[in-house]
Symmetry: C2
Subunit: 347 residues, 2 copies
């Protein structure tokens, strides 16, 4: 299992890990935004490999340049990589480390809430390839992850909202109590000190699920809750030229899938209203869709890589908060009905 | 542990594995020589991805083209790759499969003795990068390996000799009996049916050692026997423009390291003479070195990646056949003396 450290003192935690691991050399992998905005605050004296920010740089060209930099900086099999950044940095830096000399040690230090709760933990690393997301990669858990909400102080509130959607997901997968605690937290005006223990609880839900099924043969698919419909919202928004953040799309996708859960599995209807009210109160907005978009959304859900056959659409459903049902399918008519209810609730 | 099948019926073994694994699709990765010379004999009806032969193509460009072909051929997470070829094919094809969609299943079918006894088994995969051998890769064991000496019938005798050096190494690491059995086999005029059980015994030695230490933190380094001096012979021959095969270099390197073992650890001297006589009787030839080459050879040994610090030269030594001592070092004067004795014995 990975060491995960929850702290308000990031630099100290990193220095102490480095001293414990006693590497031959230390190489920070990051993007140029984090290099400019975050690294000076940390005051770490290690070699730096920085690439331009953005998912469009999460590719084999940037990956090769990271490997070339590691060689140029004299990294050996006993060196250590520290990935400091969002999901692009931890995904690509983790894969770079896992394949360099067939694998050197690495630490993840997520600088966004989304990467703290999602990408930095659990061992999925990779790059995009020929337009396919995370097509090339490895299951390679970081040796340690340092999680601190102190790094989020300069994040725009939109980014906090986006990451919080994944926390809501973990709450729903965990228990009615965990989920209720999240709905009573004000992420729009977040108290970062109070966020840290909530984040710790949330990451532990993911750790537990990943620990039971590291290679996603079964229960790990529970973590796809909200993502079948969510990815469709996200892709459609990109196609329409008005992209919404990943977490917002997942937040909307979870409502669609809760509605499907209500119809198919008796998920309580008052939970639907409570959840929709929370999204509206926190300013998640609403995806601008009409019934003319249904065919496109359903086609996008059908092409999701989580489907084992092209004829079925796979969902993770819930019979209540904490009661998870993986590998469920829904017919087009059910999805259409759920999208109608979704639009009503979010208006 | 990997399934390893020893057989004289390669196609049947492959078809039976495919039927058992029930993949969504099957993709053969190979080089164009094997595609032309071996695949027609096997009569398999699977998709083919072939690249030009040779270590110079074991790079990120070819690797990317393999991934692109897998996508183009519609490979999914439930597809199967079959690597059919020598070490370049199994190393690169194995890494391609291990990183495609974070890992799909693959089978290795070695077509050279060297890859059967060495590269195809044990999970080391990778490509060369910026002039460094196997700089990028993964520890990823094949789901199954199909080993058949029937595939070697068209190999030049030089290739059989080269692979047999690794078998001699496994014999030395295993026991006096296994080693003696190898010295009484005529690899120069090889009876391939008799070679199969010897090969099986040899691969099992490697399996046992790799099973005890898959990530090479300790005893797996025993498999480096002969390789510190051997790589130096190999590199020097390339620098001089007259390259010798890898296995031949290892065969010579083992004699150098047996001489060091004799001096430092009392390895019996009659074993040295017996081994040198075998090499000469089987036509391994001799590396054309003089005492003017010693400084270069020692410098090459010093830069070997098996050294943890640049100041020491790491060897695997033996106190007798089957009695292995890893992580030993030798001083320059001892190496110089061993090279003198080596030249005397091989003349």
């Amino acid at each position: 299992m990975q060491t995960i450290i929850y702290t308000n003192s990031v630099s100290e935690a990193i220095r102490s890990l480095v001293s414990e691991m006693n590497p031959a050399s230390v190489h920070i992998i990051t993007d140029t935004n984090v290099e400019r905005d975050v690294l000076p605050r940390l005051g770490l004296d290690y070699k730096i490999i920085a690439f331009p920010p953005g998912d469009e740089h999460k590719n084999i060209i940037t990956l090769s340049s990271i490997w070339a930099s590691l060689i140029e900086q004299g990294a050996t099999r006993k060196s250590l990589v520290i990935n400091i950044g969002g999901g692009v940095v931890t995904d690509m830096g983790g894969f770079a480390a896992s394949a360099f000399k067939r694998g050197i040690r690495f630490i993840n230090v997520p600088t966004t809430l989304l990467s703290a709760v999602d990408a930095a933990v659990g061992g999925k690393t990779g790059i995009n390839f020929e337009g396919f997301k995370n097509e090339i990669g490895a299951f390679a858990p970081a040796d340690a992850v340092v999680i601190s909400t102190a790094l989020f102080s300069t994040l725009p509130s939109e980014e906090l909202l986006s990451g919080y959607a994944e926390m809501l997901k973990h709450g729903l997968l965990s228990s009615a109590e965990d989920y209720a605690a999240l709905l009573s937290f004000d992420i729009l005006n977040a108290d970062l000190d109070r966020l840290l223990p909530l984040l710790e609880k949330s990451v532990k839900v993911k750790e537990r699920i990943v620990g039971e099924d590291p290679h996603e043969h079964g229960i790990r698919r529970a973590l796809n809750l909200g993502h079948t419909a969510g990815h469709a919202f996200e892709s459609l928004s990109i196609i329409k030229g008005n992209p919404i953040p990943h977490g917002h799309a997942v937040a909307f996708g979870m409502l669609v899938e809760m509605i499907l859960s209500h119809t198919a599995e008796g998920f309580p209807s008052d939970e639907l209203y409570r959840y929709a009210a929370y999204l509206k109160s926190q300013g998640y907005g609403t995806p601008a869709i009409t019934c003319d978009d249904y065919a496109d959304l359903i086609a996008l859900m059908r092409h999701d890589k989580k489907n084992d056959t092209p004829d079925s659409i796979n969902f993770t459903l819930l019979s209540s908060p904490g009661k998870v049902l993986i590998d469920r399918t829904a017919a087009e008519a059910e999805i259409t009905a759920a999208l109608d209810i979704f639009r009503d609730m979010m208006e």
